[in-house]
């Protein structure tokens, strides 16, 4: 574990393997909520919180429950259950503390449960930072950091997209391309420009 591994995780999670534009995780929320910047940012923050927390929780579950008892095949079920209940908890807390924020999140907060970005990051963390069931050095910290960087990449893509789509509101677009088809084409062009990062080497 050194500074280099942190920097390379940062670059690869935010830019090269951007969670939305190159791994296609969390695409549904990306297309659906990126119409305006404000809700897009709120959603990104919610996703960031849930991803980081679930990276921690799933790491402990995998390390201290699934591996010692030889239950790694229950990974999918246990992770998704934990994430679902955690999201439920966050929803209750947000509703209690800030009704305004709760209104902004709307139905998307419960939908974080089925946001592939959260679950996908947990699975990827386990795949990357465990070797044959044993954690590599600093695996917990690297997992958390990776979760944070993935969420940063998500926020980045969300903000880029919502900024562009806000401007598009005033443009004259062919009727058939309105909304979603055009959103995909824009995402494609952003993703194409992200290809340029894939040349980074360490």
């Amino acid at each position: 574990m050194s500074l280099v591994s942190f920097v390379s995780i940062f670059i690869s999670s935010v830019f090269i393997y951007n969670v939305i534009l190159s791994r296609f995780l969390g695409l549904c929320s990306f297309i659906a909520i990126s119409k305006e910047t404000k809700p897009a940012f709120a959603m990104s923050m919610a996703v960031m919180f849930v991803i980081v927390m679930s990276s921690i929780i799933t790491w402990f579950i995998y390390r201290f429950l699934l591996v010692p008892f030889n239950l790694t095949y229950l990974r999918t079920i246990s992770f998704i259950l934990v994430i679902a209940s955690f999201v439920q908890l966050v929803e209750m807390v947000v509703r209690k503390i800030s009704p305004h924020l709760y209104k902004i999140f709307g139905i998307y907060l419960p939908l974080i449960t089925v946001n592939c970005a959260v679950f996908g990051t947990s699975i990827l963390n386990i795949d990357t930072f465990f070797k044959d069931g044993k954690p590599i050095t600093g695996s917990l910290i690297l997992s958390i950091f990776n979760g944070f960087c993935v969420a940063l990449g998500y926020t980045f893509a969300m903000l880029l997209m919502s900024g562009i789509r806000e401007r598009l509101e005033v443009c004259d677009i062919p009727k058939s391309l309105k909304d979603f088809p055009l959103a995909f084409i824009i995402a494609s062009i952003i993703s194409m420009s992200f290809l340029g990062f894939s040349g980074f080497r360490f």
């Binding site: 534009l21 549904c28 996908g120």
Partner: protein, 196 residues
Amino acid sequence: MKINLKEFLKGIISENPTFVLMLGLCPTLAISTTLANAIGMSFAATFVLLGSNIIISLIKELIPSKIRIPSYIVVIATFVTITELIIKAYSPALDKSLGIYIPLIVVNCIVLGRAEAFASKSNLIDSVSDALGMGVGFSLALILISGIREFFGVGKIFGNTVIRGFEPVFLFAMPSGALLIIGILMGFFNFLKNRK
């Protein structure tokens, strides 16, 4: 048992999960690089969809509405684990090329969406028809996209060269090509619908 044809057909065209409902886009785009992947994914997703729709429509009266989402997810995750183990056992190559997208079927919005919107309110036969229709609709969309991507991106169909001397457009094999194709196809289907 007779399949309800109306529920079956709606999943293929009028409520196609990919192009109309826009559910389950992540796997659609991520694994649609080759036709072989797409067909593997179609079978896996349809199996999970069918299994979870059957179980959920059978136990819908037993689940309290407050905890229905976690309960559905447990049912779905069970079927995903079954699928995952079967694919690992019988086709390691497919397991390798689909990678994390097999466990990700559990968060595929099609499965949970159909469980919540349909199976929890309908009887067994309707749910089976709905699952089969959605599965076929999803598979057709996946095969269409991956066919285009494999042909233009690698210049092959099922791994066989079709046109000799055809220079593949690398872009279509990349993630951005997938987004471009689905955007254009969606626009095209909208165009057809608007013209009627």
